[in-house]
Structures are given as structure tokens and as C-alpha cells.
């Protein structure tokens, strides 16, 4: 691929683009990314999947300037993250996988305010933004709790609030729910969805069910961008899933085993209904 992908929202410039980007870690025989090209239009919600070691984390680090590509061009709101990391980080917030690494302050509200303090935001404005961000992740009442006393899932919501408080227009989510239980995951996903379409989102995950209504899904494997597909097409491509070490969630997998369409049956309720409907029509014929 020579050009960034077209994206689902034509027109306007890319919020994020990679053109033929390659990167190798020092001392490693094979590149972590080779010749990767894609673009995110403002307001798009794009998923990134692929096996461990496929290049997902490397891509995230290139986008906020932690790493510089060996060749090719990375642009975030028109800027080079490796050259202008601080400028770029005002526009692009990253939620990392392990929240323990990111929490620094004695109380939850201070932690959420940390990024704003670094940006020199006025006190009253900061209060409002912090309160709004804490509400956005459902942690009202936790303002004076110590992050150390929180469970992993709660910590992750604090970390998310800290990023939302600085109001970046682009969010990169690096496996944001891997530490959450089912209820916590659903809640965070609901808030992430509420950000559409104001924010441009790149969502790295192993959980395909989180991407069923994404605009597109990118597949990284062995440093190559293997596919850039709609969820509908991708989830029904059994070979593509297997080759990329992906496994369908239980409900669509049961559906597939029963000869029912897997992409439209995501919840136990939907599957149970389809089974009963099928059994009824079966007895009639």
C-alpha cells in the first residue's frame, strides 16, 4: 500500500496518518512494523487487532512520539510526533493497558487533574473539567479515594478520566478493558461510544466484540498491515481470523456451530431467540 487508506469519511484531512512506516527495535532481527500505511479521518472509530508481537504496541508508541520510524511518515493533526511530541500529545491522548503504571497522585481527583496541571489550566476551569471527566467514567464519590485502594478496573477508569480531562480530539486506547470485569467493561465501552463522533478513536484490543460497530478494523500481524476491513466482513472471514490468532466470542461461535449468521447474533438473548425461531419453523415443516 503506497497511500493511506481512504477511510469511511471522505474529504478533509486525516487526523492521523501513517505512510509506508517501518520500525525495528535495536538488536531485533525482524522489523516490528514494515511498510504500514493507513489514515484516520476525523470522527472515525477504528479498531486494531492482531496477535501479541504483531506490532500494535509499536504503532501506538509511534503515534505519540515515543518511537521514531526508521522510514516512512507518521502525522498526527499534520505534525510529526517524534519532532513535536508535546504539541502532538495535546491533541492525542493514550490510555494504556496497565493503569498501575500511570497513577501518580495521592487522591483520585488529583490524578485526574494531573494532565491539566501540566497544561497550566486555570483553577475553576480545572475543577469543572475534572468533575466532568470523573462523571464520564462513573466514579462520582471516588474523588477523595486513594488510587492504591482501588481495584484494577477502577484504576483504569481513573486513568481514562485523566485523559478525557485534557480533552484531546484523538484518543488511542491500548487494550483499555483488559483489566475490567464484564460490567466495568460494558460501562467503559458505553462512555467510549458516547465520545463518537466528536473524537477520533483508535482502539487496540483482543476483544472482537468491542469492535462490532467500529467503522473499520485494521489487522496487524508480524509487523504487516494484513487487512483494513469493515467489522461485518472481517468477523465472517474464518480464515482471516484464524491466521491472525483471533477467536470469535462465545455467542457468535455457538451461532456459527449451529449454522446461524455469527455477526448478527452477539448476545445470549439474540442467539436464544434465533434458536427458538429456528426450532419452531423446523417442527412445522
Amino acid at each position: 500500500m503506497e497511500n493511506p487508506g481512504e477511510g469511511t469519511r471522505p474529504g478533509g484531512s486525516f487526523a492521523v496518518s501513517c505512510e509506508n512506516v517501518s520500525f525495528s527495535y535495536p538488536g531485533s532481527e525482524r522489523p516490528a512494523l514494515s511498510g504500514v500505511s493507513f489514515g484516520l479521518r476525523p470522527g472515525e472509530y477504528v479498531g486494531v487487532v492482531g496477535p501479541n508481537g504483531g506490532g500494535k504496541s509499536t504503532l501506538v508508541r509511534l503515534l505519540n512520539g515515543l518511537l521514531r520510524p526508521d522510514s516512512g511518515r507518521v502525522r498526527v493533526v499534520g505534525r510529526d510526533p517524534a519532532a513535536d511530541p508535546f504539541e502532538v500529545r495535546e491533541h492525542l491522548g493514550i490510555l494504556f493497558q496497565n493503569p498501575d503504571n500511570g497513577l501518580v497522585a495521592p487522591f483520585v481527583e488529583d490524578d485526574v487533574a494531573f494532565g491539566l496541571e501540566n497544561l497550566g489550566v486555570a483553577r475553576q476551569e480545572m475543577r469543572d473539567k475534572v468533575a466532568r471527566a470523573i462523571r464520564a467514567v462513573g466514579l462520582e464519590g471516588y474523588e477523595r479515594r486513594e488510587p492504591d485502594t482501588l481495584s484494577g478496573g477502577e484504576k483504569q477508569r481513573v486513568a481514562l478520566a485523566g485523559i478525557l480531562a485534557t480533552e484531546p480530539e484523538i484518543l488511542v486506547l491500548d487494550e483499555p478493558t483488559s483489566m475490567l470485569d464484564t460490567a466495568g467493561r460494558r460501562e467503559v465501552l458505553r462512555y467510549l461510544k458516547a465520545l463518537r463522533p466528536e473524537k477520533t478513536v483508535l482502539h487496540v484490543t483482543h476483544h472482537l466484540e468491542e469492535l462490532t460497530d467500529a467503522d473499520r478494523i485494521l489487522v496487524l500481524n508480524g509487523g504487516d498491515l494484513i487487512a483494513d476491513e469493515t467489522p461485518e466482513r472481517f468477523l465472517s472471514d474464518a480464515d482471516l481470523l484464524r491466521e491472525n490468532r483471533l477467536v470469535l466470542p462465545v455467542v457468535p461461535r455457538l451461532a456459527l456451530g449451529l449454522g446461524l449468521p455469527p455477526t448478527r447474533l452477539n448476545t445470549p438473548e439474540e442467539l436464544a431467540e434465533a434458536i427458538l425461531a429456528g426450532a419452531e419453523s423446523g417442527t412445522r415443516t
Binding site: 496477535p51 508481537g53 504496541s57 485502594t149 477502577e154 460490567a183 423446523g282
Partner: protein
Amino acid sequence: MELELKDVSHIYAPGTPFEVEALRGVSLVVEPGEVLGIVGGTGSGKSTLVKQMNLLLTPTSGEVLVDGLDARSLKKSELRRRVGLVFQFPESALFASTVEEDVAFAPRQLALHEEEVRERVRESLRVLGAEELATRSPFALSGGERRRTAIAGVLAMKPEVLILDEPRAGLDPATRQELLALILGLREAGISVVLVSHDLDEVAEVADRVCALHEGRVRAVGTPAEVFYRDPAHAPATVRVASLLKGSRPGIGAPVRFKETLETLRALRGV
């Protein structure tokens, strides 16, 4: 080894305004050679519970018994060798220059012959399918490879009970399925496995028994079918589907694992 918790409570920061009662009167037995799943929502006390099992945290009240003996009467090093604990994100503790050196670190503290240490390292890496990583740097590995290296380090201590606290968080789905196979392999080898997970679908596939925690108390303990069918709202997807069909298809039984559920549903549909 039989590991028993008797009426264990744990309070963080007691006597301060931030006091949190994380466990309240938990009694639970880990039977020899079983896979025990510990499930529960965020903050239900799962991680606090397993840290009592090798006294990494001391119960505020209650007892931990190893084959009927008070765990406090054992040397801590001995207890922690026999009850191995793999933390959430264990790879953050990797430090040596090669994978084999990292895995060898703990067994080398046991005053074993160097040959025995080498043998244990080889065997642990083999069990985890990570032999080819032996001479690589832990820092040049992918997430799944690092996780396996960290688990190998605990396995090399030859624990009798292996506790895995969310061992598969952040791993790709295929690697996660491989780890499930590994857990079943450890049980074959006679090691008890305590699997802490918020992913009920995965617990359903490997657990012999399940303990469900809620707000620091044991909400239910029993076979996966007993625990999950009692409360289908907190059950794996397989159980939720079967429960929804039970009203109109009472003969559906109580399938839990994916394969038996699929077979049951196929029979129902006459496929």
C-alpha cells in the same frame, strides 16, 4: 497438598478513614489436583483472597491451613515455594539478560545443584512451549512470550499449588486458549491450580469447582453448573443461552463448557 482458608477476613488500612474490608469471613478449600476458579466483579476481593493463600498478606482474622497445619508455622520461603503465585502482569518483574537466566533466578535460591536448576528451567520452558526463547532477552519478547517466561519462573520452583491471578489479561485470544490447555496440563501433572479471572467464559472451560465472590464474601461455591445456574446473570455466555431456553425447553439440562453446550443446542435444533 490441601490448602484451607478458615473464616478469613482482611482489612486494608485498619483504623483509618480509608479502612476497606476486602474479605469477610471467607472459608474455602483448594483440593489436591483440582482447578478452582475464583470469580467475581472488580473489587470483589479476588486478588486479596489469593494473597492470603501464601501469606503474602496476613489475614486480619482467621486461619490458613496447609495439610491441616497453620501456614504461619511453616517457613515463609517454604510456603511460597509450595504455593506459587503468578501476579497480574508478572512480566513487569522480569530483569535478567536472558530468558533462561530469569527463569533460573528463583530455583537458584533453593541451593540446588546447578544441573538440577538447568533441568528445571528446561522443563518449565518446555511445559510452556517457550524453549526457543531460552537465550533471548526478556525485553525483546512480545506480551505473550513475556507472560510465559514469568509463569515458567514460578513453575521452576515446582509448586504444589499454582495460583494464576488474571494470567491472560492482555494476551491475544489464541495465546489465551493455549494457556487454558496449559492449566489442564498442570492438573494432569497433579498440581492444583487456582485461576482468578473475571472472564467467566474461560473459567467455564477449565474449572472443576468455582468460588464466586461478592463484596468480600463467598456468594457461592460448587461445581461450575451449580454456581452458574444459580445466578445466570453472573454466568458465562453458554449458561446464559441455555438458561434463556430452559423455559420452553426444560430438557436442555445444565451444559457449561462450550463443546457440551454446542452439542446440546444442536440436538435441540435437530441439526
